[in-house]
């Protein structure tokens, strides 16, 4: 399939190569290694048959769940306009823009992406994407270590547990200490004391638990000790949150799914990475720069290439090669579609609807653990095990949230949720959550 050759074509090619069958191509491969019977897999499906196969698979997922789960990935409205522009075949099927002259499209869109991220976060230099939010945190820590040559990493404990696990996997625990600081009343302690051994301070805005606080003074304390400060931010809240740059952070990373990617069961999405220019040479991944050609025409080109694995090999700032360009393109187009007012609306409506929901829950005697300091996401206490509640809510058409611990769950509200959905949620929750 997808092999174009006719009998005539094969004859021509075989003649050029003086062979008489495909197997003649492999006389230099040891016989013992060859597959004699071929692979034991099913016969091919025509497209018509494949449609049945995959529609059947798809139908095994629970359909039409109304999404109240968050934790980094959000059910934000992704317009058809953004989706279809992003999926243009020229974006989808092109290669990494090594040959700049024939890749000005990808290069310019990525340049716009970098610029947009910097504008939004108040940073100076963004790269052209990392794998996802979790791995971006690890990459940022690596920059901090390389910059400071110190060994302690101070992390807020208010992170998605998966993100923490990724950091634990990717940071070499033989060499570096990962120190998690507990939140107090779901906020990071304002008076936390950093030391001269600390390489990085890593915190999530909002915290995983949905609470948020101005981090300016904490960042300033950290920087006083020469610590590199890293903010993991929720991009879909950047229309209402103070920017990480304005709080003084050195590096901003994010899980970019909510800006331009569908939920996709978690992937592909995109990891945002932005920082200040003085860290430029430590930045992982590709960076696009603006230049001119010999006729003084605007020309974009990959730059600071001497950080990358194909040139620097084991001395590279990261091993990343294939990244998440298409999702970065999605972020670019989505952000441009939204504009300041749209991004604001996404955040504002989410917070307002969450407020309403918290209120309704409380009216119905369901306990919200962090009502006052949370924004669009919050914890509710369950009487029965949270996982049971989620399971039962599923039968009523809700993805109710993420299990936080045995008797609490994390609930996220986006601008897409309606009053009716929220009211129904509360009503059904009340019905299903009993001991």
């Amino acid at each position: 399939m997808f092999v174009p050759h006719s009998e005539i074509d094969l004859k021509k090619m075989f003649e050029e190569l003086s062979i008489s069958s495909l197997s003649d191509l492999f006389t230099h491969i040891p016989e013992t290694l060859k597959l004699n019977e071929g692979l034991s897999v099913d016969p091919y499906l025509s497209e018509l048959e494949a449609i049945s196969h995959f529609k059947n698979l798809e139908s095994k997922n629970t359909q039409d769940l109304i999404c109240f789960a968050g934790g980094g990935h959000y059910d934000v409205y992704l317009p058809h306009t953004v989706k279809t522009l992003t999926m243009r075949p020229e974006f989808m099927t092109s290669y990494t823009p090594y040959q700049a002259e024939i890749s000005q499209c990808i290069l310019q869109v990525l340049f716009e992406y970098q610029s947009l991220i910097c504008d939004l976060t108040d940073m100076e230099l963004a790269n052209a994407s990392l794998y996802d939010g979790a791995t971006s945190v690890a990459e940022a820590i690596s920059v901090a270590i390389n910059k400071t040559k110190r060994d302690n990493i101070i992390l807020s404990s208010g992170f998605n547990p998966n993100t923490k696990e990724v950091v634990n996997t990717l940071v070499d625990k033989n060499k570096f200490n990962l120190k998690y600081i507990d939140l107090v009343n779901y906020l990071f302690p304002e008076n936390y004391q950093f030391t001269d051994d600390d390489a990085a301070f890593v915190i999530s805005l909002p915290h995983f638990e949905g609470t948020a606080q101005d981090l300016t003074s904490i960042v300033s304390n950290a920087k006083d000790k020469g610590v590199i400060t890293i903010c993991y931010v929720d991009p879909s809240m950047l229309g209402v949150l103070k920017s990480p740059g304005s709080m003084g952070f050195d590096i901003v990373v994010a899980e970019g799914q909510s800006m331009g990617s569908s939920l996709s069961f978690g992937g592909p999405t995109v990891g945002w990475f932005a920082t200040k220019k003085d860290l430029a040479r430590l930045v992982p991944g590709r960076i696009i720069g603006e230049s001119r050609d010999s006729k003084n025409r605007k020309t974009y080109v990959m730059t600071l290439r001497a950080r990358e694995q194909d040139i620097r090999r084991e001395k590279a700032s990261s091993n990343i090669c294939t990244n998440q360009t298409l999702n970065a393109i999605g972020s670019t187009i989505h952000l441009s579609w939204l504009g300041p007012q749209g991004l604001y609306e996404i955040g504002y409506q989410a917070i307002q609807k969450a407020s309403y929901m918290k209120n309704q829950l409380e009216i119905h005697n369901i306990e919200v653990l962090n009502s006052s300091t949370s924004l669009r996401e919050f914890l509710i206490k369950t009487s029965s095990p949270a996982s049971n509640v989620i399971s039962k809510m599923g039968a009523h058409g809700f993805l109710a949230g993420i299990e936080y611990d045995k008797n609490s769950m994390l609930v996220a509200v986006t601008e897409k949720r309606t009053k009716v959905e929220i009211d129904n949620y509360v009503k059904i929750f009340k019905e299903v959550d009993h001991v």
Partner: protein
């Protein structure tokens, strides 16, 4: 003056510069609109809330669409023409897979959804694992690594943990051929290993004598792709594996070149313990201008419990998440690039046994044919039968006419073909690496060869200015120094520079 309706950046009308979306922005314009808030407004009191609006472009939807559509006309793509890029496997990306990847709960499921709601998605991963382990001759797989390099790191962390658990933590060296892709040593370094380079012999294969010399009790493992980055099958692969295994090291297969051998032979049978596959190469998922990919890692069963978790297991008729006991831990926030994995499964289903059994053969047929006709124009780097790709060199032309691989690549762009990969592997001087893949016709291969001959003739001309190539494209060679020196990486940076200078 910038205006959204002006299409002069279209190559169709001459291809001037396209303004940035920021240059098309004007205060007060917008594309988005949301439902009116349907809940009572409450006051928001939080110190993290800003009082002003964020900085973003303000454009109409029509201007937005025109801008990105025009930009799309300024790029090459697999859907537009032939990319003979060695090591990249730029084959046709079936549109049918787009359809499947767009089905509702495949595209729109939250990654935290419990397994009981996502049996279809888990089955996708399970079916794909079965295909992949059968094709590579391995036993179990994880789909978390979002690309090949991440797969390498995953594999190396597995090696590390395995060695640690077996009291072999003194083993700190990873051996990598001097011809290896840059991600190999970079990943080894990130995993905390020392990188030791093994040389390539004159035939283009791993230098076995050298290897034997390098292997010692510090040897943790070897990373190799087979066919190697020269496009040659490492005929002594079984011996090589044996040498490493004898030293209690593990052997890692970089699957970037898997396309050559699908249905022909299997890494698992060659002695490899860990294999990553680049689904965006061998299994036809689109490259997306640089990503996303998917780099699943498959292992022999003795390594299963080290895989990043959770992995999918089938229990009667139920698919479940299972976290391996000695797991190295997650390497991705959730389940890796699920939709890319799904597309790969679609491709495998469409190929089936008939297509997969012959996939490698046709990929090699096209490359062997192309190498045969191109070798009549410029010499091959190695005088060996190539697999799915081959390396040519223009070092002679460099000597005689100062024509570099770079120049040949640029001149080719003008003629409707993407450049082959250049300067890789690093050990070949002025390397041009061609990989046709199995989806190109013999006419296209012939056409490429004829075109290559034409441009090489042309470049040898008297009055030729090599720097002037490409000539037909909207822009010529960029000045690479400006951005590297001045960090013009943001809109406004360049303009600022012009004002300052």
């Amino acid at each position: 003056m910038y205006s959204g309706g002006n299409a002069k950046s279209l190559p169709l009308v001459g291809g001037g510069s396209e303004p940035t979306i920021n240059q098309l922005s004007n205060p007060g314009r917008r594309a988005s609109r949301f439902p009116k808030l349907d809940v009572p407004v409450s006051e928001i009191n939080n110190t993290a809330i800003r009082s002003d609006k964020p900085r973003l472009p303000e454009v109409s939807e029509h201007d937005l669409v025109m801008h990105y559509s025009r930009l799309a006309h300024r790029n090459f793509a697999v859907d537009l023409g032939f990319y003979p890029l060695g090591s990249c496997t730029m084959k046709y990306n079936p549109r049918f897979a787009d359809y499947v990847a767009g089905l509702d709960t495949f595209a729109n499921t939250h990654p935290s959804s419990p397994q009981e709601f996502t049996q279809g998605n888990l089955q996708v991963l399970h079916e794909l694992e079965e295909y992949l382990t059968e094709i590579t001759g391995m036993d179990h797989a994880t789909f978390q690594p979002p690309a090949g390099a991440s797969g390498e790191l995953t594999g190396l962390l597995i090696i590390k943990k395995f060695l640690n658990e077996n009291n072999l933590s003194h083993k700190t060296d990873i051996i990598v051929p001097d011809s290896a892709h840059g991600t190999n040593p970079a990943s080894a370094k990130m995993a905390g290993f020392n990188v030791v380079e093994v040389s390539t012999d004159s035939r283009g294969m791993v230098n076995i004598d050298d290897l034997k010399q390098l292997v010692n009790n510090k040897t943790a493992g070897l990373m190799l792709t087979n066919p190697n980055t020269g496009g040659l099958f490492e005929e002594n692969i079984s011996e090589i594996s044996q040498i490493i295994h004898d030293a209690d090291g593990l052997v890692y297969y970089d699957g970037a070149n898997l396309n050559a051998i699908v249905g022909v032979c299997r890494p698992g049978d060659m002695g490899f313990d860990i294999v990553h596959s680049n689904l965006h190469k061998t299994f036809a998922t689109p490259h997306g201008g640089g990503g996303p990919g998917s780099g699943p890692v498959a292992v022999k069963s003795f390594l299963r419990e080290y895989l990043p978790g959770p992995i999918v297991v089938k229990n009667n008729d139920l698919y479940e998440w299972y976290t391996p006991i000695s797991s190295i831990g997650r390497v991705h926030g959730y389940h890796g690039n699920f939709l890319v994995a799904l597309r790969a499964l679609v491709y495998m289903k469409l190929l089936g046994k008939e297509g997969l059994d012959t996939l490698g053969s046709y990929a090699v047929l096209n490359a062997r044919y192309l190498s045969s006709i191109i070798s009549k124009i410029i010499p091959l780097a190695y005088n060996e039968p190539c697999m799915h790709e081959f390396v040519s060199t223009v070092k002679n032309l460099k000597k005689s006419h100062k024509i570099k691989a770079y120049d040949v690549g640029k001149a080719l762009l003008d003629k409707g073909f993407h450049s082959p990969t250049i300067y890789f592997p690093l050990i070949v001087e002025e390397a041009l690496m061609f990989e046709p893949t199995e989806t190109q016709t013999v006419d296209t291969l012939d056409d490429l060869a004829v075109t290559l001959k034409d441009i090489i003739d042309e470049l040898q001309g008297q009055e030729v200015s090599l720097e002037s190539y490409p000539k037909n494209l909207p822009v010529g060679r960029p000045n690479e120094l400006i951005p590297a020196k001045h960090l013009t990486v943001n809109w406004g940076d360049f303009e600022l520079l012009e004002i300052i200078e």
